[in-house]
């Protein structure tokens, strides 16, 4: 049986090499596009720069400490500039005029509200024109939010314990709840680098995985049209052999495609995609999901020409919604939610997390699990359809 499987696989590989889909679609096009995007839009030369608007309507200790931290940060030195603005409307106008890339707005009474245990909201204004500034502003506000949450909880606990109001601050800080000083220990720019250089490489890898693996399943329809599939199925071999032989080659080519695109992106831009084993697992899960979805498409259409068209449409829709073409943070809220319906969305989320945080596999277990679930559901439906259509 393995010999028959090898024979089908060898013929599929030979066909893919002969018709050019193995080299052109799997390697040359995604690597070229990823490289062009990285060179044009990513990388560290020239250095990344962002101006973040700073609106302090509070005048309290929180905004003051944030300002001190950003200005004093070695990681942000030369890259991020704070620009004081008098109010929210002015910040919006500056944003629209591209004078700032993002803005942080501390509302009036913020520090007092936090000090009294009532929490508070810091607004972040962003522009799709400057994703880097948006990432930096969000990174800063994320730190503030964590501090505010901890501080609010501590104050409430102390107040509930009956401590007089004028002793709360001293009591809270003495017992470990940090003061209003966000420590920017990590480089907030790392998120910006993800979006600008790694983003396009991973996006192309995710998009072309669909085309590469889909070509093999489409080949099953061609074999059915030629009559060779029936000839194989009438021979002394298990019915799954033709399917498995082609699927194995398509899957392997797609995996090679995404890995080569990954390697090329790293070599060209110099940016890391994150922990290599974790990146590989995410890419593997993405290729599996792409295989299952294109298999499902193949099981529902009648001809190979139909399969070509539908796979192309599905691939581009998934790529667009899933942030493979346009960064997810640049999409409207509705589309950002829709991204979670696509494997590309989860792959993009996972790779951004890995590249941005430097975390390992555990940090992307959720997205990988979702990709596996997509594979299981789409693959199961595809197998049923393929059996009905005598492809399997």
């Amino acid at each position: 049986m393995w010999r028959a499987l090898a024979a089908v696989g060898a013929l599929e590989l030979r066909t893919r090499l002969r018709d050019g889909t193995a080299l052109v679609i799997a390697l040359i096009v995604p690597v070229t596009l990823a490289t062009l995007f990285s060179v044009a839009l990513g990388g560290d030369d020239p250095p990344l720069r962002a101006t973040v608007g700073f609106v302090d309507l509070d005048g309290g200790e929180f905004p003051a400490s944030v300002r001190r931290e950003v200005v004093g940060s070695q990681e942000l030195k030369g890259s991020v500039t704070l620009r004081d603005l008098p109010g929210r409307e002015e910040a919006r106008r500056a944003l629209d005029a591209d004078e700032v890339g993002a803005a942080i707005v501390f509302p009036a009474g913020f520090s007092r509200s936090v000090g009294e245990g009532r929490g508070g909201d810091v607004a972040v204004l962003t522009s799709p024109e400057s994703p880097l500034a948006g990432v930096v502003a969000r990174a800063i506000v994320d730190r503030i939010s964590a501090l505010v949450d901890a501080r609010t909880l501590a104050v409430r606990a102390v107040l509930k314990a009956g401590v007089p109001g004028d002793e709360v601050k001293e009591m809270v800080e003495r017992n470990g709840a940090a003061g209003p000083s966000p420590a920017l220990e990590d480089d907030p720019l790392s998120g910006g680098k993800v979006d600008l250089s790694v983003h396009y490489g991973s996006g192309m890898a995710a998009l072309f995985a669909f085309f590469v693996v889909g070509a093999s399943f489409r080949g099953l329809l061609t074999e059915r049209k030629l009559g060779t599939l029936d000839r194989m199925r009438a021979g002394p071999l298990a019915v799954w052999v033709p399917f498995a032989g082609k699927a194995a080659v398509g899957f392997a080519l797609a995996l090679v495609s995404v890995c080569v695109t990954w390697a090329a992106s790293v070599l060209v831009s110099g940016a890391t995609w994150g922990d290599p084993p974790a990146v590989f697992v995410v890419l593997l899960a993405h290729v599996l999901a792409a295989a299952a979805i294109t298999m499902l498409v193949t099981s529902r259409v009648k001809t190979d020409a139909q399969a070509d068209g539908v796979i192309m449409v599905v691939s581009f829709v998934m790529a667009f919604l899933g942030g493979s073409l346009v960064p997810m943070h640049s999409l409207p809220g509705v589309l950002q939610a829709a991204a979670l319906l696509t494997p590309n969305g989860w792959t993009s989320t996972a790779l951004t997390e890995l590249a941005g945080s430097g975390a390992g596999l555990a940090a992307v277990a959720g997205p990988v699990a979702v990709l596996c679930a997509i594979t299981t559901v789409a693959g199961g439906l595809a197998v049923l359809g393929m059996k009905k259509g005598t492809l399997l």
Binding site: A4, A7, G227, G235, P236
Partner: protein, 338 residues
């Protein structure tokens, strides 16, 4: 002529012959099916089809397009799962042990089921590997098959450059690679020129002569009459008659038509011919021609010529014996090429 109710046509699958005295157990039929049925929604594509093909026998499945031949074959080779019935290949149940059963079958599909971008030799090599031929044996077997189908000189050309007849021949050759016990040919001569058709039929007869069992489907009457020992007529998904050519023709009776051309007193000759023993019916079909319906027409000719002696002279005769075409027309009420 109206078609009789297929249900009323007597058809019983042949009972295995029982030689006298103690003998080794008879070998099972090369191909056997019983009660095969397949339906698509409300449409019964095949109903209760059953027949045996003995080892070394050439068996024809004759029927018009859409009669259920290809559906039947698809079930016989394991491409379609029957809704009812079973198939045995050399005694091996196809459903229970498909791999072993399929290894005994060589299936030649109706269309050219080959890779047009590969050469004839590459196609044979691929299917040989797929069908489990040992590597050492494969190269030699490919040469044998190429020689058998007469394509040794074009073995390294791409199949897409072959003529229609050459494609048909390599299509058949591919099914012979693993030396099957039963060759199943589904309309193997559709769309080929007369020369290639002759070559294909000669080749098939050669294989049967060497002991290979054959199931041959066609809607070309003359091919089935030439190649097959026994024939089943299938229509509307049912086998409505089965037997040797002679047995099937006997279903429509043994009457032959005799056409006579005469000089002289034709009316007197007509009266004398009616009196000849064996003449069932006689009628003038023109001023100098008479048509007779007779039993054993060819043997009756001397008596017919003698009978008109003195009043007319027979200048030409033609005896038309019933054939499978007439049988088919009688059984189904339609011609094979409908």
């Amino acid at each position: 002529m109206t078609a009789p109710d297929p249900m009323t046509v007597p058809f019983t699958p042949p009972a295995p012959s029982t030689p006298p005295g103690p003998a080794p157990a008879p070998s099972p039929p090369a191909l056997s099916c019983r009660g095969l049925g397949k339906r698509y929604g409300d449409v019964h594509a095949v109903q209760d089809v059953g027949f045996d093909v003995a080892p070394g026998e050439a068996y024809g499945l004759l029927g018009p397009n859409g009669a259920g031949k290809t559906t039947t074959i698809s079930m016989l080779v394991g491409l379609l799962r029957p809704d009812s019935g079973h198939v045995r290949v050399c005694g091996v149940d196809l459903a229970a042990d498909p791999m072993r059963a399929k290894a005994r079958i060589g299936y030649v599909p109706q269309e050219i089921a080959l890779y047009p971008e590969l050469t004839g030799r590459e196609n044979l090599r691929f299917f040989g590997r797929l069908f489990g031929l040992p590597r050492r044996e494969l190269a030699g077997r490919i040469e044998e098959v190429l020689d058998l189908v007469g394509l040794m000189g074009r073995a390294d050309s791409r199949v897409k450059t072959y003529s229609g007849g050459m494609k048909r021949r390599i299509n058949i050759g591919t099914a012979l690679l693993h030396r099957p016990d039963v060759l199943i040919l589904d309309e193997p001569t559709v769309g080929v020129d007369p020369q290639s058709r002759k070559a294909i039929l000669d080749g098939v007869e050669h294989l049967v002569g060497e002991g290979m069992s054959l199931l041959y489907t066609s809607h070309y009457m003359e091919e089935v009459e030439r190649v097959c020992d026994r024939v089943a007529i299938i229509d509307h998904g049912r086998i409505i008659a089965e037997g040797t050519r002679r047995e099937l023709i006997a279903l429509v009776g043994s009457a032959d038509k005799v056409e006579l051309s005469l000089d002289g007193d034709v009316e007197t000759a007509l009266a004398k011919l009616r009196a000849v023993e064996g003449v069932i019916e006689a009628a003038m079909t023109g001023a100098t021609s008479i048509r007779l319906l007779t039993e054993g027409g060819r043997h009756l000719l001397p008596a017919l010529i003698t009978a008109v002696d003195g009043c007319a002279t027979v200048t030409a005769t033609q005896v038309i014996e019933p054939d499978l075409e007439a049988t088919f027309l009688h059984l189904t009420g339609s011609t094979l090429r409908d």
